[in-house]
């Protein structure tokens, strides 16, 4: 089980997002890789687009050095665009995603959405 801690519901453009993630009930030795990303996705009538603003992958030696008994901290400044949006044909939403890849091929994912900027609707 993956837990995301410390995320606020709203951030302003240019502000730094800081959060932690923690893993429980997983055999630490079975973790092959961990990916953490801050990204935006479009949703609506069109094909979905994805923009990755921040991406970190831990595998091999960098993964072995991690003490999973403590929460892992991530901090990154957010861009000024695109801001969160709910329009008629499309929505733009931001989220934090953490993926754990295990030795048996399974993949665990935790995702938490947040707003970037004051939510903009079609004017």
């Amino acid at each position: 089980m993956i837990r995301l801690i410390g995320l606020q519901p709203t951030y302003m453009p240019g502000q730094t997002i800081e959060f932690e993630y923690r893993v429980a009930n997983i055999d630490r030795g079975s973790i092959v890789a961990v990916e953490c990303s801050v990204c935006w996705v479009t949703e609506g009538k069109g094909t979905e687009d994805l923009g990755v603003h921040f991406f970190q992958r831990l595998a091999g030696d960098s993964l072995a050095a991690i003490d999973w008994s403590i929460a892992q901290k991530i901090a990154c400044p957010l861009p000024i665009s695109p801001v969160s949006y709910e329009g008629k044909l499309l929505k733009i939403s931001w989220c934090v995603r953490v993926r754990f890849f295990l030795g048996d091929g399974t993949e665990l994912m935790a995702q938490q959405p947040f707003y970037l900027g004051m939510l903009t609707r079609e004017v």
């Binding site: 240019g14 009538k45 094909t47 687009d49 861009p79 000024i80 665009s81 801001v83």
Partner: protein, 336 residues
């Protein structure tokens, strides 16, 4: 410039088109006579042959050059050509009440440099038109000319065969739809050309770009042509665009989510040399969404000019602009 300019422009274009066709037609007759004739006596390839061929080809060249010179003179205004000519010596925008550093590209927002590469005559930038109407006219003209030239060659071939007492029925049957297409495309081109002569081009100049929500910007719309307008209206519009693409399924949908009239003008007469100038100012709403562009989705902002004129069909021309995130975010861009 007077009303005769209208008739003169159209007449000149028609004249050069006919000269071009005569050139192609005569060249085709000459070449087919020389190369394809079997029963008739071929022309002697001497001084006279080359002179006649040279005259025919010069007709074709003169026709095509004269025709396009006249058409291109109509579709680009003198002012525009003048400003483009000066572009190299204009060090910076002519005016602009928001002196700011050139913004760096912002993620997922269209690059503003695409919109600021054409300087304006009165305000800082001349906005590019979204649908290059003149480009469509030129493309149609090229097609009509090329098609007519090809048909002219086939007509000569058919006539040559007929003179040798053998009617090439297959070619004749092919020529019937070919001539029909040639007439239709020429007619369509000249109708569009007349419309361009009458309605004329629309130019939009803006004080500054990119636009920041909450700030006020000056705008100048100039309508050229020779017509009596019933109404001309300028709108600021925001449109969402989504494309769904999978396999053979490709579908694009657009929806206007914001539209605000920023200027309008009632009945007025426009003549060559006396364009209609509309000056106004507008403001993008403070809480508006910025421009956005991703692979399949987009949010476009644009200035739309709608016109209704006597004896001409209504027209609508769009000029895209770029809106950046509201002022708090834009300070961050300039500082970066």
């Amino acid at each position: 410039m007077s009303g005769w300019w209208f008739i003169g422009s159209l007449g000149e274009a028609l004249f050069f088109a006919i000269v071009f066709l005569i050139g192609v037609f005569l060249s085709a007759i000459l070449i087919s006579w020389q190369l394809m004739s079997q029963s008739t006596q071929p022309l002697k390839v001497g001084y006279g042959f080359w002179l006649f061929l040279g005259v025919c080809l010069s007709f074709a060249v003169l026709g095509i050059v004269g025709f396009w010179y006249r058409v291109l003179k109509v579709v680009t205004s003198d002012e525009h050509r003048e400003v483009i000519g000066k572009r190299g010596i204009i060090p910076e925008p002519l005016s602009g009440s928001h002196p700011m550093k050139k913004p760096t590209p912002v993620p997922s927002i269209p690059d503003v440099r695409r919109f600021t590469d054409s300087p304006g005559a009165r305000l800082a930038y001349r906005l590019p038109s979204q649908i290059p109407e003149n480009g469509a006219l030129v493309a149609l003209g090229i097609f009509a000319m090329a098609w007519s030239a090809m048909i002219a060659v086939f007509v000569v071939m058919a006539a040559d065969a007929y003179l040798r007492s053998s009617v090439p029925w297959q070619l004749v049957f092919l020529l019937i739809p070919g001539i029909y297409v040639a007439i239709r495309s020429a007619r369509l081109f000249f109708r569009s050309f007349i419309r361009t002569l009458g309605i004329g081009s629309t130019t939009v100049e803006i004080e500054d770009l990119p636009l920041i929500p909450g700030r006020e910007y000056r705008l100048e719309v100039v309508q050229y042509g020779r017509l009596v307008i019933k109404k001309i209206a300028v709108r600021l519009e925001c449109q969402e665009e989504s494309t769904y693409h999978f396999g053979t399924d490709l579908r694009t949908e657009r929806q206007t989510v914001f539209s605000q009239e920023i200027a309008s003008h009632g009945r007025d007469r426009i003549d060559w040399g006396y364009p209609l100038r509309l000056e106004c100012s507008f403001c993008v709403p403070e809480d508006a969404m910025h421009s956005f562009q991703s692979k399949h989705n987009a949010i476009h902002w644009k200035i739309v000019v709608d016109g209704e004129a006597n004896r001409w069909p209504s027209y609508s021309r769009s000029f895209p602009v770029v809106v950046y995130p509201s002022s708090r975010s834009s300070q961050a861009i300039v500082a970066s």
